[in-house]
Symmetry: C2
Subunit: 161 residues, 2 copies
Amino acid sequence: MSIPDPSWGTHAHTVLEEAGHRRGGARDEVIDLLASQACALSAQDIETALRAQGRAVGRASIYRALDVLVEYGLIKRLEVGRAEACYEPANPGGHHHHHVVCEVCGELAAFDDRELEAAIARLGARLGMHIDDHDVLLRGTCRECAGRVPTATPPQHLHQH
Amino acid sequence: MSIPDPSWGTHAHTVLEEAGHRRGGARDEVIDLLASQACALSAQDIETALRAQGRAVGRASIYRALDVLVEYGLIKRLEVGRAEACYEPANPGGHHHHHVVCEVCGELAAFDDRELEAAIARLGARLGMHIDDHDVLLRGTCRECAGRVPTATPPQHLHQH
DNA sequence: TCTAATAATGGGACTCAGTCTCGGAAACAG
DNA sequence: CTGTTTCCGAGACTGAGTCCCATTATTAGA
Ligand SMILES: [Mn+2]
Ligand SMILES: [Mn+2]
Ligand SMILES: [Zn+2]
Ligand SMILES: [Zn+2]
């Protein structure tokens, strides 16, 4: 999700409405914010962003909205090894991408790979159990950080959190 | 890691010793427990298990031990979408596996797939940045749970935590 | 339009995995 | 042995996420 997809917001609203959910201000704000965003956001990010634009929403409501959206497959929850989870809109068509995280600066980048997806699909078939989702996370050093690191450095240590 | 590998424990002790770490009771207990275990353990699991066998170890020491072990690549940290992380011994040869988690009962199973690893390796090369680790997690429904679920069930929802 | 039923909201207390601190214990080089 | 340094444990602390519940908003139906 490198480019924000404005149509995702309407789609999300529609899905929830058709599922019988009433429309409330808080959840709408969360959806609209996610629709306008290019990159995955944490619950914290969402709270801060909404407050900053004068549309503060209770923390409980943010988590509730995220739960519902995950439930309907409208957003994808990402665990990136940080303390908090991040969320990003999911393409209704099922097309998706995965991420590489820089172990040095924590930057998150997306990539999209047909071959990887194909390998996972075949693997699922081979396992003999029904697989309906998967996560892939690559860890490495981004270009910028690779240039900045002195040559005689001991192996990078990634402390949890 | 379906079968505990007793030699891993000695290997871990050796690596740490050669790296200049002093040998202390707490970390030894953690290593020995991990070496005897077939499945990934959380920090909580470790604390409980050690206490149960009368070898209680401070929580801080458990996390310290896990940090060091991750740092030297001796264990692998797993995020399985639960609240806490899990840890399991890493094969010194670099050979490893990934996991499938059942969305219904939470059971964790390991699998090992050459084709997937090859796809990831090629992908890393294509990305043009140095990748030194990766995670893959499949989510689905295990055989047991597939049999138990009534036919007219709405799509399984996986609530976070 | 009005109303009743019910879903959504938000403040704030609470949980609990993980972190930090610091005084004391153990390891080990010399 | 002894001094230096690392390791250890108790417990205070942090912060993401959860829970509760009184209040407010939505909406189907009269
Ligand atoms: Mn994929
Ligand atoms: Mn792999
Ligand atoms: Zn970087
Ligand atoms: Zn199951």
